[in-house]
C-alpha cells in the first residue's frame, strides 16, 4: 500500500469516526449510508464481480433482521409472548447488560443464519444462469417476505418491534452508527482483500466465461456459493443493525423490501460502477444524498424523480461513475497490469 492510499484510508476512517460529532443531526442518515455501502458492496461481489445479478439478496437482509431481533428478545423473554403483546409494552424491559448481550449474540447469529440460508439456497439456485437466476432470486425474495408475513411467531403482518433500548443509553443511535460504520469498514476490507486473492480472480473468471472456467478445472458451483455466503454474512449483520435502527420490522416494507432496498442495492452498485471496488461505495453515497434531496424538495413527486433517476442511470449511464472516470482518465484511474500484484 502506498502512502497516498494510506492517507486516503486514514482520512476516511477519521471522517467516519468523527462524523456524528460534526453532523449530530444527520447521524441516522449517516448510519443508513454506511449500511447502504454494505448493501452495494455485497451485491457487487456477486452481481458485479461474479456476474450473477441477484434481486433476492434482501432474503439474507431480512433473515438477519429477524434473527437478530428474535435473539435479542429470546435471551430474556419468550418470543411468542412478546410478539403476541405486539411490540413490547411496559412488561418487556431490557436492562443495559441484557441489551448489549442481545447484540453481542444476536448479530453473529444473524450473520450465521443468513450465511446458512445463502449456502442452502445458493447450492439450489446458483446452477441457473443469467436471467433465470435473476428471476428466481426475485421470486425467492417475495416468497420469503410473504412467508414472514404469515408467520405468527415473529408477529406476521403486524410486524415486530426489536428490543426497546434501555433508558440508561441516552444516545442509542450513536451506538448503531458505530456498529454500522464498523460493519462497513469490515465489509470493505474483506472484499478488497478477497479481490486481491485467487478467489477474486476465480469469480472474475466465472463472470467472463463460466464454461471455460469450469473447463479449467475450477469448482465453479463451490466458488459461486462461497461468494454468495460471504455477501450474505455481511448483509445478515447489516439487517440486524437496520432493524434496530428502524425500531419496527414490517415483513414486507422493512425486512424483505424487494421493491425498495432490494432494487436500491443494485442501483447503487450500477450508479457507482459495477465490478469495481470503489464503485459501490461512491454509488451508495451519491444515491443516498440524491434520495434525501428528492424527499426534501419534491414532495409528492419524489417517486417520479426516483423512477426517472433509475431509468437514466440504467439506460444512459450503465458504466457508472467509476467506469466513466476510467474512460475519461485511463492513465490515472484505468485498470493496470500490476493491479493484481497481491494475487499469489
Amino acid at each position: 500500500m502506498n502512502p497516498q492510499k494510506m492517507f486516503l484510508y486514514g482520512a476516511i476512517v477519521l471522517a467516519g469516526l468523527a462524523g456524528p460529532f460534526i453532523f449530530p443531526n444527520n447521524q441516522v442518515q449517516m448510519t443508513e449510508l454506511w449500511l447502504f455501502i454494505v448493501f452495494a458492496l455485497t451485491w457487487d461481489l456477486v452481481g458485479g464481480q461474479m456476474g450473477y445479478n441477484s434481486f433476492g439478496n434482501v432474503v439474507f437482509f431480512g433473515i438477519g433482521m429477524y434473527a437478530c431481533a428474535v435473539v435479542q428478545i429470546g435471551l430474556v423473554y419468550d418470543v411468542g409472548e412478546y410478539t403476541a403483546a405486539k411490540g413490547g409494552g411496559t412488561a418487556f424491559i431490557f436492562d443495559l447488560a441484557q441489551y448489549i448481550w442481545g447484540f453481542a449474540i444476536g448479530l453473529p447469529v444473524a450473520a450465521m443464519l443468513a450465511a446458512l440460508a445463502a449456502c442452502v439456497l445458493g447450492s439450489l439456485v446458483l446452477g441457473m444462469r443469467g436471467h433465470y437466476f435473476a428471476i428466481c432470486t426475485l421470486g425467492l425474495g417475495i416468497a420469503a417476505g410473504e412467508i414472514a408475513a404469515g408467520w405468527d411467531w415473529i408477529g406476521a403482518g403486524s410486524g415486530m418491534t426489536p428490543a426497546p433500548p434501555p433508558h440508561d443509553i441516552d444516545n442509542v443511535n450513536r451506538l448503531f452508527y458505530y456498529m454500522a460504520f464498523a460493519l462497513a469498514v469490515a465489509t470493505f476490507a474483506t472484499i478488497a482483500w478477497l479481490l486481491r486473492t485467487r478467489f477474486g480472480l476465480a469469480i472474475n473468471a466465472i463472470r467472463d466465461d463460466e464454461d471455460k472456467a469450469e473447463a479449467m478445472g475450477m469448482f465453479t458451483t463451490r466458488i459461486k456459493v462461497t461468494a454468495w455466503v460471504i455477501a450474505a454474512t455481511f448483509l445478515g449483520a447489516a439487517g440486524g443493525i437496520y432493524g434496530n435502527l428502524k425500531r419496527f420490522i414490517d415483513p414486507l416494507d422493512t425486512a424483505f423490501s424487494g421493491a425498495t432496498i432490494g432494487v436500491w442495492m443494485v442501483l447503487m452498485a450500477i450508479l457507482g460502477g459495477k465490478g469495481t471496488l470503489w464503485g459501490p461505495v461512491i454509488g451508495a453515497i451519491v444515491f443516498q444524498v440524491t434520495k434525501e434531496l428528492f424527499w426534501t424538495y419534491l414532495l409528492g413527486w419524489q417517486r417520479v424523480a426516483l423512477g426517472v433517476l433509475i431509468v437514466v442511470i440504467v439506460v444512459f449511464f450503465p458504466e457508472g461513475i467509476v467506469g466513466r472516470v476510467r474512460q475519461m482518465f485511463p492513465e490515472r484511474f484505468g485498470p493496470r497490469a500490476d493491479a493484481r500484484e497481491g494475487a499469489e
Binding site: 441516522v28 403486524s158 443511535n173 414490517d250 416494507d253 409528492g300 419524489q302 417517486r303
Partner: protein, 409 residues
Amino acid sequence: MFRVMKFAAAAVIATGAMAGTQAFAADDVITLGAAVSLSGKYSTNGEHTQRGYDLAVQVINERGGVQVGDTTYMLEIKYYDDESTATRGAELAERLIQQDGVNFLLGPYSSGLTKAIAPVTEQHGVPMVEGNGASRSLFTSGYRYLFAVLSTSEQYLASAIDLAAERAADLGKAPNELTVALAFENDPFSQDVRAGVVEDAQRHGMQIVIDDKLPKELNDMATTLTRVRALQPDLLVVSGHARGAATAIRQIQEMRVDVPMLAMTHCDSAKIIKEFGDAAEYTLCASQWAPTLTYQDDLFGSAADYAALFEKTYDYAPPYQAAESSAAVMTFVDAFQRAGTLDRAAVRDALAATDMQTFYGNIRFDETGKNIAKPMVLYQVQNGAYVVVAPSEWAAADPVLPRPGWADR
C-alpha cells in the same frame, strides 16, 4: 379530468395558504411536522388525513392564529410523503425533528406508520398527537409523548359484535350459536381490530369458522368468500383499509354471497356508496365519527358544520379520517394555549391534562395517551346513506337485520 381540476384547485389553495403564512415573521409561526402517505397503498387515507390537517390549520389561521402567552402565532405544517411504508415514516420523523427542528408532530395515517414513528418521537421527547393510529399496542408500550384522539382498535367492531349478540333472535339463534367469519388485512391495524373482534366473539361464546389474513396487495378475496358461501356464517367481518372495503363490497355482490350480517371498517374512506351504489346497502360500518353527532366546538361549530365546510372545500363528504385529523390539530392548539409556552415538556403536560369537546367528540387522555372520552359509532348503509344504528344514544334508525338475500333484492 375532473380529478386534475381538483388537484389544480387544491394546489392553488395550498399556495394561497402558504403565501398567507409567509406574510408573518418566521418567529410567529408554529411549525407542526407530519409524515403522511401521499403515495403508496394508503394514499387515499393519507390524503384524507392531510386535508383534515390543512382544513383545521386554515380555519385557525383565518381566526387569527393561536395565542400562546403574549404572542400570537400562525400555524404551519411541514409535510413529507412517507410512501405508506413504515421504514420511511421513521426516517422522516427523525428528519422533521433533527433537521427541520420541528417540536411538535402530527400523526401519520395507519397504525403501522404510527408504530414506526412513536419510538422516534419518544426518544427525542417530541409530543405527537395522532388521529389515525388506533392499534391498542401503541398504548401498552409506555409512550409518554404519544396522544391519540381516536378510539383504539379493539373498540372498532365491538358494537357490531354486541349488536349481533343482541339481535341473535332475529337471526333465529342464541348468541352462543352464532358463527363468525373474519377476513382481515395482514397489517398492524387490521390485525389489532381482529384481536378485539376475536375477544368480543369469544365473550359471547360465538364460534369463529373462518379466520383469513388478506394480503397487502389486495384486489381479490374470492377464495375467502367461497369458504364463506360454503360455511354460511351469521356474521362476516372484513377490515383492510379502503381497498379492503372496496374489494369486499364488489366481490360479495358479484359472487352473490349471502350473509345475515356484514360488518367492516373504512366504508366512508372507500366511498362505497358513491362507488358501488346498491351493492353497499345494509353494510355495517365502524366509524370514529359521524356528521350527525351532537358534539360542538367554537372553531368549527357542530359536527354537521364541519362536514359542510369540508365538503365545500374539498368537494366530498368528510370521512372520519379527516375529522380526527382536524381534531388532532385542535388538541395541539388547545394544549399550546393552556401551556402558555412552546416548551416541549410543558406542552406535553398540557396535552396530558386535555379535557375538551370538539366537533369530533370529547377528548380526554388516560395515562397511556389514548382518548377515553369518545365512543365509536356503528353505521349502516340504508337507502344510499350512512345511518347511525349504534350505540343507542345516537342511533337514528334501527339496523336492518338480517341483510336481505341477493335473490330478494
